[in-house]
Symmetry: C2
Subunit: 330 residues, 2 copies
């Protein structure tokens, strides 16, 4: 598998992206990484690294899309951005997947513009894997579409491709929720999806669903609230414990346990999230990604491309449309 | 202060509500509690308790509003519910505030029906106090209004009555968000509110805002995600730590630190949340409230009524309307 990496994307690029690429080719025997970005800067980063010859290459790009740049502007004005180069390689069949830790909105826009939507898909979504007390679950949409229709939410469920789909809401009864979730509930109930009904956050974290669907604004609030709270909870526990000598000793003894917990909930471990509903494989990774997170995103993208997962998703959507289950108007 | 308590509301009523009332009158010298509910059941609960004579009384009610009952049905059909009796006492001037750990939607509906909205308020909101790494912050709306307008969100900010108001969104720039938050951003910017802009969950938990506003669906997701995750994080840490003997010892040594952390983040400590924008003082408390949570809700409600906080909120809204800052149409 050959993965194109936007080597200039993310808060710590290109140092972290190059390091992630090097770790990937050192660990995965059958993977190549193409770094898209400023060639002199990338050569400098690579010069001190050890990796199998020929498994990392560079495609020069003169521009970088800023983290806060409006996506459409990035598409229209930055014709030579590292992000665009990475996606273009997928379009041209020169890479099996593209990965970026940069501007996720811009990547979605470029993926839509260059690769296009899968047949029948109205809105591609970001599918983020998150840990629970039991197995991880998939959250979608995690932020691509801030204003969604009920039909969009149903498609997210179809694209999720896992059993036990829950609709994130504010109570378990069908009547609990806003206009969007009430309408989406009806569509999900009638669909072929294994729909378990509305689900609240607590049940999500206990592992009661494999896929959690919602509009991208709510999904992003859910994701960021989880990440932010987990970070602050650990900070608060450390502060409380630091206040006593006995507590400090206890913390030292617990360290490996806390490390295991962190490992299981660490964003780095989850690495990247695919854009689902795109004709091709594109993964986004957190702006604050570490080399390990980049490596995990590259690894996941390679796996996703190898299993041709995006084709399975297209088939699912086609089947839904063919079944004649046309959505009920709101 | 005389507080009317819906003694039949909540998952563990009336045992927990009566115990909470008893603790309240034993601790607060100038407070009376009126228990609304099934008199024989309440007398049974009270028979074994010690408390100052005359400080707890009973108003008999034959019906109970179920936790999942549709609010309008509760208003129309249950004319003799304990919840209704409690709110009616506020209306009749027989109590300074009403508190319920029961159906929050039904309490909002009854408060609107019996007491009415404060002048100029479009939608009353639930204002929940939550802990952060620094000071607590107020989240509103925490769940009363699932579909809101930008003007509603602005009013939530005015009702919050604290400095540093943030708009919960998916990025800090004004352009980040959905249609509602983009419009609310414009209104907040022009208003008299000390608006600090969009805020993401992480910054909220670090204590960067005193008031966090959003629509009630998103607010409820934020609240439940925080509660659910905090619970599951502790569960996961305990599981990881229980896996090693040294870790277990460490946990024992850390116990007081963990206890302090829990105390600071415990829902029980925050107790109750006022309905803001109502002509009168009504507090809702978690369905799973402990006696301590009930006591804290009663105590907060008494304080809220004593300082006539709802009148200050009405004044704020009146002033906003008088200033001629009429909202800009979307």
């Amino acid at each position: 598998m050959k993965i194109a990496l936007d080597a200039m994307g993310g808060d710590f690029a290109p140092a972290v992206t190059v390091e992630g690429a090097v770790e990937t080719v050192n660990e995965l025997p059958d993977t190549e990484v193409v770094l898209a970005g400023d060639e002199p800067a990338l050569l400098r980063e690579l010069s001190s690294k050890k990796y199998p010859q020929g498994r990392i290459s560079i495609v020069h790009a003169t521009e970088v899309v800023g983290m806060e740049e409006p996506p459409l502007q990035a598409v229209r004005k930055k014709k030579d951005s590292s992000l665009r180069r990475a996606v273009e390689m997928v379009k041209a069949g020169q890479a099996d997947a593209a990965v970026s830790a940069g501007n996720s909105g811009a990547m979605m826009a470029l993926a839509l513009f260059l690769l296009g939507r899968s047949e029948g898909v109205e809105r591609p979504a970001i599918a983020t894997e998150m840990p629970s007390f039991e197995n991880p679950f998939l959250l979608l949409d995690a932020g691509a579409n801030v204003d969604c229709s009920a039909e969009n939410v149903l498609q997210f469920a179809l694209m999720g491709q896992r059993p036990r789909v829950g609709l994130l809401s504010r109570g378990e009864e069908p009547s609990k929720g806003n206009e969007l979730t009430k309408e989406a509930f009806k569509l999900l109930e009638k669909s072929s999806v294994n729909f378990i009904g509305n689900i609240e956050s607590r049940a999500v974290f206990l592992g009661h669903a494999d896929v959690v669907v919602c509009d991208g604004f709510v999904g992003n609030i859910f994701l960021k609230t989880s990440e932010g709270l987990a970070e602050v909870v650990l900070k608060m526990i450390r502060r409380e414990i630091g206040a006593s000598r006995v507590g400090k000793l206890g913390y030292l003894l617990m360290k490996s346990g806390i490390r295991n917990f962190k490992k299981k909930t660490d964003y780095d471990e989850y690495g990247g999230a695919p854009l689902l509903g795109i004709r091709g494989t594109c993964f986004i990774s957190h702006g604050r990604s570490s080399p390990k997170a980049i490596k995990n995103a590259l690894t996941k993208a390679a796996e996703f491309a190898r299993t041709r997962a995006h084709e399975a998703i297209s088939a699912e959507i086609r089947e839904y449309h063919a079944s004649g289950k046309t959505p009920v108007a709101g």
